[in-house]
């Protein structure tokens, strides 16, 4: 009989406790529990290996790849991408820059890598590299340069792309990410027209998605956004996708990068 009383009391207490903790708190607790032991670390380890591994027809590593801070400088490079590169005369994001390096340094075929399906083969390698390279900037603040005219032009292009409505549902990025306080079911949607805060939005990708057990780079994230808009994907590492990165990244100036993060 005493056991019944205790159990009942516990049951009541726990029910009351649960009611006091909001669903949002519950989700936050779940995410916190996953933060230690992020499977992204498995991809980071792979990415570091790939950076240093001699590959391709030229049998060279990526260690001379310039990500914007000089050949081979990886620390701090992620939070300054996309940016202008003098050698290609383009503003490039991480994936686009990796394609450049893989082609020029290693002799690999960039077009084929861009066409490969996400998560497989060379695309899996790209995602591992993105995981490691972004990890080398973990904790740093987003600080995209806007000194070059092309960088500013790409920002404006990105803004236009962000607000461009199209596709069968007439969605734009702004439909979901253009205002504070929006959400889809239990997912809060960050406002990407401004700095949404540390570790949110642009500062939270690449990320390991537990729902599929996959490592997603920003290119893949954008690809899925377009899929959800029922809009054709502008193309892997295309100017439009890079410009969106410039727009979001410049808006997020000062936000702390937590990449590679862990997500639903």
């Amino acid at each position: 009989m005493r056991r019944l009383v205790i159990t009942t009391a516990l049951a009541v207490a726990s029910t009351a406790g649960f009611a006091q903790k909001s669903t949002a708190d519950g989700i936050a607790e779940y995410r916190a529990m996953l933060a230690d032991g992020n499977p992204a670390e498995l991809f980071e380890a792979k990415g570091e290996d790939l950076w240093k591994k001699k590959r391709g027809p030229k049998n060279a590593s990526l260690e001379q790849c310039d990500l914007g801070k000089g050949p081979g400088v990886v620390k701090g490079a992620w939070v300054e991408l996309p940016r202008w590169f003098a050698d290609t005369k383009r503003v490039q994001d991480l994936e686009s820059r990796l394609l450049t390096c893989m082609e020029t340094l290693q002799g690999l075929n960039a077009a084929e890598i861009a066409k490969a399906p996400f998560g497989k083969g060379e695309q899996a390698n790209m995602e591992a590299l993105a995981a490691w390279i972004s990890a080398e900037s973990r904790g740093a603040k987003m600080n995209l340069p806007q000194g070059h005219a092309e960088e500013r032009r790409m920002y404006e292009l990105g803004k236009r792309a962000f607000f461009f409505r199209g596709g069968p549902m007439d969605f734009s990025c702004a439909s979901c990410h253009g205002e504070d306080g929006k959400r889809i079911r239990l997912q809060d949607l960050p406002n990407l027209t401004k700095n949404p805060g540390d570790g949110v939005g642009f500062a939270a990708w690449p990320a390991y998605r537990v729902s599929s057990g996959e490592m997603w780079s920003m290119q893949r994230r954008l690809n899925d956004c377009y899929r959800q808009q029922r809009f054709p994907y502008p193309g892997y590492a295309s100017d439009v996708t890079i410009s969106l990165g410039v727009y979001m990244g410049v808006n997020a100036k000062g936000a702390e990068s937590i990449a590679p993060a862990i997500k639903r």
Binding site: L4, A11, L34, G213
Partner: protein, 152 residues
Amino acid sequence: MQTRRDMLTRSASVAAALAGLGLLPQTALANWSQAAFEAKTLPELMKALGTSGPAESKDVTITGPDIAENGAVVPVGAATTLPNVKRLLLLVEKNPNMLAAMFDVTDAVEPSISTRVKMGQSSNVFAVAITGDNKVLYAAKEIKVTLGGCGG
């Protein structure tokens, strides 16, 4: 709210599950316990017990979130303050096969393990401890599984 009947039913269910899985102390297991991991539902596993059955115990703890944003990865832990524990098990009641994992612990490790399980739906999750003198004790927690939004 739990009635005494609920409690007894639950004890019986866990007992049946364990008996059906052949996991009670008197059974020796060799290699990977296929029968154990193929056990499906609690009611299906009703078997007569040689012992007085597993009891819910405050000395066993099951840790986990109240709500999981995605059932693919749910962090759970089983721990106990009981001495002389041989085995710790994690069961997800409503999974197609209930037994998720079992750990044979020696004196060299603390009787406390954490891992991540897949949950097909909201369900009770059990941590079960089996001691060296064949006591079987458990703790239960309900974990709600939800579906998030767009995956951002």
